[in-house]
């Protein structure tokens, strides 16, 4: 049987820039699921845009070459008819919030939007959408606003809106990072059905682990071309050093109560002690209070009751900008706070605020930019960088504060294998240097690799504690499954 998709791409370039992809060809058999692995800024998203017919058109740029889908040939280089293309190729991208159109009132309408735009009547749309919502586990949310859902649920909504016109080819560019249990199951189910029906899918990611188990074969994107995937050297097995002598207690929370609305505490009597030089991971299901705990420790959220001390300072009273001398923080959405005009300025921002002398600001900024691998990008605008690099800019800007404690909220999201390895190496170096690390992460492989000690949070209090080795040896729990030691009942 011939190929379902045959892409021969001469070149793709954005205005005024060198081509991102050149002489690239990609061929998919009916029923095939291909994974494309590539480092950050290798052009994965550009390739996805080309397949989805977005360049030129919605994305300014120039493309040349041709694309064959199902025996018909389209020339690249001029905008495609979207009416036709919705049935040929569907594309979902990372960051679900950006892929909610804002044009629909409910989840059902959002998912049905492409059909509505293809001219189907309300009854026909409803019939098509109903079953899909069920299989995505979104049935109970059909009449809710998609903007009220969790990020995992939003990613399922986006998947639904991509699948609903039944495209022959599904392209997912890092569109599965937030998929939880039902979402991943629905994706696998679709991929299985696509195989049976002779359709195809392309999955792109920077993390090998995210593609494993989903794809039939793996390609490697580098230098603007596709190559057979090399065996990437695995990161060396975690090698927990013999436990250092625990230092004095640097951070202490006692019977901490906190929340955002009266009568609904998120932290309910939490107590925790962290010693100097320790790398402590805080894990637990969504809504357990992990990020809230960090906010309290950083002085950003005043506790209702209880005591929280950081190096003897009362974090419940000190303003956050004073605590910035003690705790550096990498927020969950680091790109939010960057404002340039250059990467250098963003990293120098913190030490300047703390009144560090200019020479020392220059030294620290240069040193930490090199340490995270951004030395040659110091003059770029933060918006010019990929999401993974932006996270490292934010990390460097937290490190430049020179604090003895570092709190990192989901530091691995959006990183490719290379940046992930870089992050792990950097954190190991910081541990060596005696810094205290607080890690909030859903990525148990990362936790097992970096942390010395793991505490489990559920229902706003600690429900268990473990050495990191035990976490690593355990299979990652499914989303929503309570961690060991958590109380029974709804969380």
């Amino acid at each position: 049987m011939g190929a379902l998709v045959d892409l021969s791409l001469n070149s793709v370039a954005y205005p005024g820039r060198a081509p991102v992809l050149a002489d690239l060809s990609l061929s998919l058999r009916p029923g095939e699921v291909v994974g494309i692995l590539g480092p950050t800024e290798s052009g994965k998203t550009t390739l996805a845009y080309v397949l989805a017919g977005l360049i030129p058109g919605a994305v300014p740029g120039a493309a040349s070459g041709q694309l064959v889908v199902g025996g018909r040939t389209w020339g690249l280089g001029r905008p495609l008819d979207r009416r036709e293309w919705l049935r040929q190729v569907g594309l979902a991208l990372a960051e679900p919030y950006y892929q909610l159109s804002g044009a629909a009132d409910t989840v059902a309408e959002e998912v049905g939007l492409p059909l509505e735009n293809l001219g189907l009547g309300p009854a026909a749309v409803k019939a098509e959408v109903g079953g899909l919502l069920q299989s995505l586990g979104l049935g109970p949310f059909a009449d809710r606003s998609p903007f009220e859902l969790s990020v995992g649920q939003q990613q399922r909504v986006v998947l639904g809106a991509t699948l609903v016109p039944r495209p022959k080819v599904l392209v997912l560019d890092d569109a599965f990072e937030h998929l939880d249990g039902p979402g991943r199951a629905a994706l696998k189910q679709f991929l299985a059905r696509a195989k049976a029906e002779g359709r195809a899918a392309v999955l792109l990611s920077g993390r090998r682990r995210h593609l494993e188990g989903l794809v039939d074969r793996l390609l490697w994107l580098e230098g603007g071309r596709l190559h057979p995937s090399p065996q990437t050297p695995e990161l060396s097995a975690p090698n927990p050093k013999p436990g250092r002598e625990p230092g004095s207690v640097v951070l202490e929370a006692e019977d901490l109560w906190a929340g955002y609305s009266v009568g609904r505490p998120v932290l309910a009597g939490l107590s925790l002690r962290v010693r100097a030089g320790e790398a402590l991971a805080i894990v637990g299901p969504n809504g357990a209070g992990k990020s809230t705990l960090l906010l309290v420790l950083l002085g950003l959220l005043r506790p209702w009751a209880g005591r929280v001390r950081v190096f003897g300072s009362d974090a419940g009273r000190e303003p956050p900008w004073r605590l910035a001398r003690l705790i550096g923080y990498l927020p969950q959405n680091p790109a939010d706070a960057l404002f340039g005009p250059t990467v250098w300025d963003d990293v120098a921002f913190g030490p300047r605020n703390l009144g560090v002398p200019a020479g020392e600001v220059r030294r620290r900024t240069g040193a930490w930019l090199s340490a995270v691998g951004l030395g040659d990008r110091a003059g770029r605008h933060p918006l010019e960088l990929s999401p993974g690099w932006r996270r490292l800019v934010a990390l460097a800007s937290a490190l430049a504060l020179g604090t003895p404690i570092l709190a990192l909220d989901e530091p691995t999201v959006g990183l490719d294998d290379g940046l992930y390895g870089r992050l792990v190496g950097l954190l190991e170096g910081l541990k060596e240097a005696g810094r205290t690390l607080l890690l909030v992460s859903q990525d148990l492989e990362f936790v097992g690799r970096v942390a010395d000690r793991v505490v489990f949070l559920a229902g706003g209090r600690l429900v268990g504690e473990d050495s990191a080795r035990a976490v690593l040896s355990e299979t990652p729990p499914a989303e929503g499954r309570p961690p060991p030691g958590s109380p029974p009942g709804p969380l």
Partner: protein, 243 residues
């Protein structure tokens, strides 16, 4: 009742436009009072009276009324005054304040009639089917949805910059300097968001959406244009004829 509840968004916009114009036709309290009564009746007929009153009283008139009575009751320019205790109260100013409150209630009520409780997506469809440029209709409706997330983002930025040592207290000069570090990320995120969202709109086929025939009764069209023309007529009469 149900007849009013099922009116199309555009019809409510027509009614609101008519009332809005009529609000400026006269300074007579009777005219304002009559218009306000009409709005209350319409709100009741479409089953929205409670919410209508609540917003009008607490969100709109509450804060402004106090200011109006104080500013005009005590300082209305050129008005004669009488001593009430230590204060010099001007009756003419009080009546000016009352007239202004009624007018504000009428124009705010008109806007509320067009917007209160209408799902934004319904407004979008209605506008696009009437030939309003989709980008325009989309901008209006989508912005409403993005406001909560933008506010949340503003709070995240405020939090993140403080943890990078940015002090938010102190004298005004220092706070104005902090302003840039908080507003610039907000604007840059809007650009990143705009870039991603234009891809999303394309992927959902938003620009190829066909215009649907409007299933609209003759009566509804009559109400809409009647209200607009009626409002314009009242304005012209009030300002030019019965001056």
């Amino acid at each position: 009742m149900s007849a009013f509840a099922s009116l199309k968004p555009a019809t409510w916009v027509g009614i609101a436009a008519g009332l809005f114009m009529a609000a400026f036709s006269s300074d007579e309290p009777a005219v304002g009072g009559g218009l306000l009564a009409a709005e209350l009746a319409l709100a009741a007929a479409s089953g929205r009276l409670k919410a209508f009153l609540a917003i009008l009283l607490f969100a709109v008139l509450g804060p402004v009324s106090v200011s109006l009575f104080v500013v005009h009751g005590l300082f209305h320019p050129g008005a004669a005054g009488v001593a009430v205790g230590p204060l010099w109260v001007r009756p003419e100013g009080l009546s000016f304040a009352a007239r202004t409150i009624v007018r504000l209630a009428v124009i705010s009520g008109a806007v509320l009639l067009a917007t209160l409780g209408v799902p934004p997506g319904r407004i979008l469809r209605d506008l696009v089917d009437r030939g309003v440029p989709p980008a325009l209709a989309y901008g209006l409706v989508a912005a409403v949805r993005f406001v909560p997330e933008t506010r949340a983002r503003a709070h995240r930025i405020i939090a993140a910059q403080q943890t990078r040592g940015l002090a938010l207290n102190g004298n005004p000069i220092r706070r104005i300097r902090a302003l840039g570090a908080l507003v610039r990320p907000l604007l840059l995120s809007a650009l990143a968001e705009a870039e991603a969202r234009s891809v999303t709109l394309e992927l959902r086929g938003f620009w190829v959406r066909p215009r649907r025939a409007l299933a609209e009764t003759q009566t509804e069209r009559l109400i809409r244009w009647g209200a607009v023309l009626g409002g314009a007529l009242v304005l012209v009469m009030g300002r030019l004829v019965f001056r």
